[in-house]
Amino acid sequence: MSRLQITFDALKQQQRKALIPFITAGDPAQKMTVPLMHGLVTAGADVIELGVPFSDPMADGPVIQRASERALKQGMTLRGVLNMVAEFRQQNTRTPVVLMGYGNPIEAMGWSEFAQRCEEVGVDGVLTVDFPPEESHDAFEHLQRHHIAPIFLLAPTTNEARIKQVAKLARGYVYYVSLKGVTGSGSIDLSAIEEKMPQLRKHIQLPIGVGFGIRDAATAKAVAKLCDGVVVGSRIVQEVETSNEQNVVANVSKLVSELRQAIDN
C-alpha cells in the first residue's frame, strides 16, 4: 500500500481530517527546506505539498510567485528538490510528500528520469498544475511505472464529464480548488463547496482535499467538515516570507499547530 493510502486510511479510522500544508522548496533558503518539512510534520501535517519553483507560475498569486522567485534566486532546481526529499526520508519514512509545480522543469529533465528519481527518493505524488489529463498520457505512464500518484486539480468550473475522467486517472487524493482564481486570492465560499461535494463524491472514491483561499484556523475547521483534507498554501508561505532563517521553523510550526487544533476540535 502507498504512503498516501496508508495515511488517509488511518485518518479515516480515527475520524480525522488531513492537514496538507504547502511550502516552496528553497524558500527562504535551500538549507531551511528539510528542517521546515520536519517542523510541519511535528506540528501536525499529514501530507506535505512541496512546491517546485518555476519562473512563470501562471496559476499562482503574488505570495507564491515571490516565494518561487526567492527560491530560484537561491539556485533551486528540480534535481535539488528531489535531493531534499531524499534527505527528508532519512528521518521520516512515513509522511507522504507530493511535488507540486509546472510541467516544464519536468519536461526538461524528462518524465522517465523524473519518475524514476521520484521513486528512488520517496516522492509519493506529483501535481503539475498546467498539465490537464488530456495532455498527460506520457507523463502518467512513467509515473505509474514508478508507483507515483498523479494528483489532479478539480475546479468549480469542472463539469461532470471531466470529473469522471479525472476519477479514472487520479491516485492518492484529489485536490479541489475551492475558488476561481490564483492561489492566495479571494475568500472561500463554504456553501459553494458544500454544493459541489456530492457531485464530486458521486464519481470520486479517493479522499478529496480542498484548498485555495484557506487563510485561518476557523476557515480550515469549517472546510475540514466538508471534505477529507485541507490544503493551506499562501498563508504558510506568507509566514515564511515574514520570518528569518532563525525563527522560520518555529513560526511556521506555530501556525500549523493552530490549524491542526482547529481541524481536530
Binding site: M58, Y102, N104, M109, T157, K180, G181, S185
Partner: protein, 399 residues
C-alpha cells in the same frame, strides 16, 4: 502531402495542444466549440468582412519598394502594407475577429496582453467599438519603451495594468492576463495577441490573420502576373507571419522565411529567436513549442530591441513548419533591424515598426544576392510611430 493542421485537439504534429490549469480548461473548450460553430457561419463571416473593409480599411495594398530595390541592386522588394490598417498593425485583424466572437458569446469584458502595445491598442479599439470593458496587461519595461501606445490605450478607454513580475515584458504580461482570466473566467473573453497559447488560439488567430496571405495571393498575380519567389515576415509569437505564410504553404515554389529577433546576436545568448537557436521543446502559456529555457526548464529572459518580438516562445505552427522543412527561420540582430528601419524611412518614406524592420532587414540582406527578376514579398506588419522613443534614444536624442 496534404497539410491540415491542427488536429481536433489542437496539435500541430508534436507541437501545440492545450496545457491549462483546470479552472480554465472548460473555458478553452467552450471557446473552441463556439469558434468552430461561428467560423463558417454566413452571418459571422459577413459581419467580419464588413468590419475589415469599412472599419479596418482592408484590403491592405501591396507596394513595390522600387527605390529601395534599385539601391540594393538585386531582387525586387514588395511590401504588404499591414501598417496602413486602422490602429497601424496587423493585430486588429485578429482582435476584430475575436471581439465579434466575444459579442456572440455574451462577454462584456475583454482582456489582453501586449508587448509593443499594438495588440493592446487593437483590443482597446475593438472594445470601444463594441462597448466592452477592456483591461490590458503590459510589462513595466514595455510601458516605458512603448509609451505612446500606453496613452493611446487609455484614450480608448482601456485600463492598462503594469506588470512588475519576472522580466517585466511580454511573457510576464501573458502570465498576468492568464491570472485575470482564471479569476474572471465566466465574464471575460481573453483576446489573445498572437498565434500561440492553448488551443484554439493558434488556429483561431491564424485563421483571422490569413486575410493577409489570402489577399496577397490575389494581389501579386494582379501586380506582377505571378506569385512572389519568397514571403518574408517577422516572428514574435508568429501571428503576422502565419497569416501571410499559411495560404502559401500549398504553393511549393514560394519560399517561406520567418525572421526572429536576434537581439545582440545568437551567440550572445541575448536574443528572442527560439527557432533559429534550436531551443529545446517545452511547455509555456498553454502550448508545447520551441522555448528559450535553461537546462533546468526555467524560462530565460529574452532580449530584443522590439518589444513585440521579445518573447521566449513561438507559435506551434511555426515549430511544425520548421520541423517539416516547409519554412526557414533566420534571425536579424538589433542593429540590422535599425539599419533597415532607417533605409525604409529614407528610400520609401515609410516608417516601419521595429518588429517589421526585422523582416525587412532580412530582405535587404538577401536581395543583392538574387537576380533582379526575383520578387520578395515582405509583410510590413506595422508602422513605427510607437517606436519614436526607442529609436530617438538609440540615436542619443531626447524628444
Amino acid at each position: 502531402m496534404t497539410y491540415n493542421f491542427p488536429d481536433i485537439s489542437g496539435h500541430f504534429g508534436q507541437f501545440g495542444g492545450s496545457y491549462m490549469a483546470e479552472t480554465l480548461v472548460p473555458a478553452v473548450e467552450e471557446l473552441t466549440a463556439q469558434y468552430l460553430r461561428f467560423k463558417d457561419d454566413a452571418e459571422f463571416k459577413a459581419e467580419l468582412a464588413y468590419e475589415l473593409k469599412h472599419y479596418v480599411g482592408r484590403p491592405s495594398p501591396i507596394y513595390h519598394a522600387k527605390r529601395l530595390s534599385e539601391h540594393l541592386g538585386g531582387a525586387q522588394i514588395y511590401l504588404k502594407r499591414e501598417d496602413l490598417n486602422h490602429t497601424g498593425a496587423h493585430k486588429i485583424n485578429s482582435a476584430m475577429g475575436q471581439a465579434l466572437l466575444a459579442k456572440r458569446m455574451g462577454k462584456k469584458r475583454v482582456i489582453a496582453e501586449t508587448g509593443a502595445g499594438m495588440h493592446g491598442v487593437a483590443t482597446a479599439t475593438v472594445a470601444a467599438r463594441f462597448g466592452m470593458e477592456c483591461i490590458v496587461y503590459m510589462g513595466a519595461e514595455d510601458i516605458v519603451r512603448q509609451a505612446p501606445n500606453v496613452f493611446r490605450m487609455k484614450l480608448l478607454g482601456a485600463t492598462v495594468v503594469p506588470v512588475e513580475s519576472g522580466s517585466k515584458t511580454l511573457k510576464d504580461a501573458c502570465n498576468e492576463a492568464i491570472r485575470d482570466w482564471v479569476t474572471n473566467v465566466e465574464s471575460t473573453f481573453y483576446i489573445f495577441g498572437t498565434a500561440a497559447g492553448p488551443h484554439p488560439y493558434p488556429m483561431m488567430v491564424r485563421d483571422f490573420q490569413c486575410v493577409i496571405g489570402n489577399e496577397a495571393k490575389v494581389q501579386m498575380p494582379e501586380m506582377i502576373g505571378r506569385q512572389p519567389d519568397a514571403v518574408i515576415a517577422c516572428v514574435g509569437g508568429g501571428s503576422n507571419a502565419i497569416g501571410l505564410f499559411n495560404p502559401y504553404i500549398e504553393i511549393p515554389e514560394v519560399q517561406i522565411i520567418g525572421v526572429e529577433a536576434g537581439g545582440y546576436g545568437i551567440a550572445s545568448g541575448k536574443h528572442a529567436a527560439p527557432l533559429t537557436a534550436n531551443a529545446k521543446v517545452g511547455v509555456l502559456h498553454g502550448n508545447r513549442v520551441n522555448l528559450m529555457q535553461d537546462e533546468n526548464g526555467q524560462i530565460i529572459e529574452t532580449h530584443s530591441i522590439s518589444a513585440g518580438l521579445d518573447y521566449p516562445g513561438v507559435g506551434p505552427e511555426h515549430c511544425l513548419l520548421k520541423e517539416i522543412g516547409r519554412a526557414q527561420y533566420v534571425a536579424i540582430n538589433d542593429d540590422e533591424a535599425i539599419a533597415a528601419f532607417d533605409a525604409l524611412c529614407r528610400f520609401e518614406g515609410i516608417i516601419p515598426a521595429l518588429e517589421s524592420s526585422h523582416a525587412l532587414a532580412h530582405a535587404i540582406k538577401i536581395a543583392p544576392t538574387l537576380a533582379k527578376e526575383k520578387v520578395l514579398l515582405v509583410n510590413l506588419s506595422g508602422r513605427g510611430d510607437k517606436d519614436m522613443n526607442t529609436v530617438a534614444k538609440l540615436k542619443g536624442i531626447t524628444l
